[in-house]
Structure formats: C-alpha cells, structure tokens
Symmetry: C2
Subunit: 244 residues, 2 copies
DNA sequence: AAGCAATGGTACTGCTTGGTACCAAGCAGT
DNA sequence: ACTGCTTGGTACCAAGCAGTACCATTGCTT
C-alpha cells in the first residue's frame, strides 16, 4: 500500500490544480547563515517548547504537526523518531507541563509558624498558580488533553493535584497531632479546602470568562475559605455532628 | 420547544445498524412502511437528541454532521435551515443540556426544617447530579464545548452553576437573617460550599478516572463538608479572623 | 578529503470534515 | 388532481490532518 502505484503523473485529480502556492519551489532559500543541526535532546526540547507555545496560542484543538515543526525547526521525521507520533508528543508535553506547575506550589510550604498562616500561604500559592495567565494557559492544555486521554489524565492527577492535596493533608495531620484541629480524615479535609479555593472561580477562569482576579478579591476569597475551614475543624469542644 | 421528544420517531434510527460502507447505495431501501415527514420542531428535537446521544457515546471530538444525520434522519439541509450550521447546533445543544440539569438540583430545596438538613439535602442532590453516569456524560459535553467557545461557556455558567450557587446563597442569607450563621458574603460562602463538594472528585470523575462513588463515600464527603462548613460559619461568638 | 549515517525538507497519500449544490419525493393550497 | 414550495437524500468540493516516502544536506568518522 505504501509503494508507489503505477501512477507517476500528476493526474491524480486534476481538479486541484490550484496548488502552485502550496509548494515552495526554491530549496535554496534556506536560512542564510546558521544551519547548524541540533542534537537529539536539543531538538526534543525545541519541539516540546513549540508544542507548548502553540497549544497556548491556538487554544482549542491543539496545533498540527506542521505548525509545530514550522516553529521548532526540524522535520516530521524528528517527531516520529523522538516521540513516535503525535500521541507520544502529547504525552511528553503533559508530563513536562505537569512537572512545571507543581514546584511553584509545594515550594516553601511550612514557612509560617501557625496553621492559619500556613493555610493562607498555601492558598495564595495555589490560587495564584492556578489562575495566573500562565497557569490558565497550561491548565487549558491539560484539561483538553485529559478529555482526550484518560491515561494522561490519570498521570496528571497523580503528579499534580494529587501531590498538592497530599501535601496539604500532611500539614493537617501534623496540626492534628499537635491537637490544634480535629479531623477524622485529613485527606478529605484537604480536598475540601482546595475545593473551596477553586470554587467556581477556577473553572470560570479556565474558560476565559473573566480576567484574573485582583489582589483584593483573591484575599477576600482566601480569607473566607480559611475562616470557614479553620472554624470548622479547629479543636474546641464539639459543635460537630449535632443531631438535627 | 420540546414538543415531543421523539417517542414515535423510531422509524429511522434503525438504519444505523447497516453501516456496511459510508454510503447506503439503494435509495429505495428506505424505511419500509412510512416516510412521513417531520415537522420543523420534530426534526429539531430529533437532531438535538441525536447530537446529544452521539456526543455522549463518542465522547471526545463530538460527532460529525454525517453521524448526527444518519441517526436523526433528515439531511444536512435540516441542520442548516434549523440551526444555521454546526456551531448553531452546538449552541442549541448546550442550552438544552444546561436546562436539563438544573431542575434536578433546584427542585425541592428547602424541604428540611433546619439549615443542616437543607445543606445535606442540597449536597446530596448536587453530588448525585454531577457525578452520576448521566451527569458525567453531559458534563463532558459541556466542558469540551466550553473550551471551544467562551460564549457558550458564559451562557452555561450563567444558567447552570451560577443559578445553583445563587440559590444556595439565598438559603444562606435567610439563615443569616434568622441569626443562625455569621457570614459577611453569602455568595462567596456558597461558592466555598459547592467547591468543597466538588473537591478533586468531580474532575476525576469527569476524566473517567474512577467509577461513581458509592453511597457511603458520598455520605462521608458530604458529612465532612457540611461539618466544616457549618462549623465555620455558624453563629457562636467569634473565633474568626483572630490575628495570628 | 572521501564516505557514510543520520537529520532536515518537502511532496504525497489517504482520510475525515463542514459546507454547498442539486435532484427527488412528499405536502399543501387551490 | 395539478402545481409550486418545502423537505429529504446524496454527491461533490475544498480544506485540514497524520503519517509515510524519498531526496537533499549536513557533519562526523576514517
């Protein structure tokens, strides 16, 4: 099927005659000065970078291979030898992008002395990472890819939100050990806190429904969330599960 | 608008079993008995219904017009006269689907006497609506379309989550008036509560990372969320905003 | 410097899609 | 029943896509 059939003429479909613009006839119009070839890892990085940029720029229905190659240089061959095809490239991109977000969240936690300070700090980090211009762009890539491939979604959740939630859960466990809070399930509580911070806002941002929130609004949101959360779990007798 | 959701319009849908090729060669192999023409609204309903079903079934990268027509009957002409094209059909589908979800959430709120009961009731409704098999299917359609069109996303948020959150906010306002809770911003608090209920679970469900949660797990999540939330906002002196 | 293996560049194939054109078949008004 | 308008069915077109083949070029090795 791949061997060229007995048709060497251009008469495949004469209707599509208007093709003279699609081909660039001059192969000598190469780059003037530097045509240095890139090593495999350089090429890989360039491809991933181009794919990321274009995914951010184009948004929906990510870039075509042509577009990626045009920006990154190299040729389709590079993609197939390096990633095995488009799916492989998306996999690699997902891994890279996930790894890029996490550190900015986990870094430097536990700086505050008390729990409230730690929570506020964590919340600021999270909201700013998620809802920043760049965070939203990356989030859009991730989410759309997650719909396309549950396998990638699984990997993303394990390495992204999963780790973030686990980190917060550990902080809560420590506070519980110190007797500052009462919580039967710190992981569940961590989920709640993170969910509060997202609220409807994160999705609205993801869908580009409004500009990034201002400092004040974010502080208000964080304040409300921390107040409710701390008020709900801190240790002070029992106001919980009172029978209704 | 919803005249008759094609109760008796089964006349054509059995063609989809054929499928031997992309084209059905014999124009005389039509439906055996009747070829009654559908009215405009019937046709519209059939198209929307087929589009919804196929979106659910195919998941990623919604169905093509051919697929929709093959199931709904009619022809491409129907789509263009009725919806103006594919985008118009997606718009209409989004509106329909959004309107479908909301009532099952808002219906029958305020049944319980006390606030805790009301919150638990609301939470059960919300989680079950969102994370049910059907809710997830519809949610996937909506989310993917939201990425494709911020305009649709805006309409969805206004008619879906926006209304749900506003409803809860009203409930909270009433409780505040009765002095049961203290909350400077009930809408923000409602956002928090709904966010807690989603946590990471809803997104994980949306991406098909696990089966629907069991009754027990849902009750545990709801219990935790309600406990934290009520504990955080109920009126009992001031444990909030203590300076750290 | 010559040769060779790997990479870059591009045309091409096969396929799918949305949109349009056109013919055929039903329906309604008279 | 005839006629004209509307709707259904299908072929067709242009565009875009991933993947493959193949030539041209590069740069390292010997």
């Amino acid at each position: 099927m791949k061997t060229n059939p007995a048709d060497e003429s251009k008469k495949k479909t004469d209707i599509r005659s208007g093709q003279q613009d699609s081909r660039t006839p001059a192969p000598l119009a190469r780059s003037p000065a530097k045509t240095r070839r890139l090593t495999a890892s350089e090429r890989r990085a360039a491809l991933l970078r181009a794919a990321k940029e274009l995914s951010v720029e184009l948004g929906v229905a990510g870039p075509s291979l042509d577009a990626i190659i045009k920006r990154a240089g190299g040729s389709r061959r590079s993609i197939y030898t390096e990633f095995g095809g488009k799916e492989g490239l998306r996999d690699a991109l997902m891994a890279e992008v996930t790894a890029e977000i996490l550190p900015s969240l986990t870094d430097d936690v536990n700086r505050s002395a008390d729990l409230r300070g730690t929570l506020v700090h964590f919340a600021r980090r999270l909201v700013n990472v998620l809802e920043s211009e760049r965070g939203v762009s990356i989030g859009r890539i991730i989410m759309q890819d997650n719909f396309a491939s549950p396998a990638r979604a699984r990997s993303f959740f394990a390495n992204g939100p999963g780790k973030g939630t686990a980190l917060l859960a550990k902080i809560l466990e420590a506070a519980r050990e110190r007797g500052e809070i009462e919580s039967p399930d710190c992981l569940l509580a961590a989920n709640c806190f993170i969910g509060m911070l997202r609220g409807n806002f994160y999705m609205e941002r993801l869908f580009l429904l409004h500009e990034p929130s201002g400092e004040e609004e974010i502080e208000a949101r964080i304040g409300t969330a921390v107040d409710i959360f701390l008020g709900g779990i801190e240790a002070r007798g029992k106001n919980q599960r009172q029978p209704s």
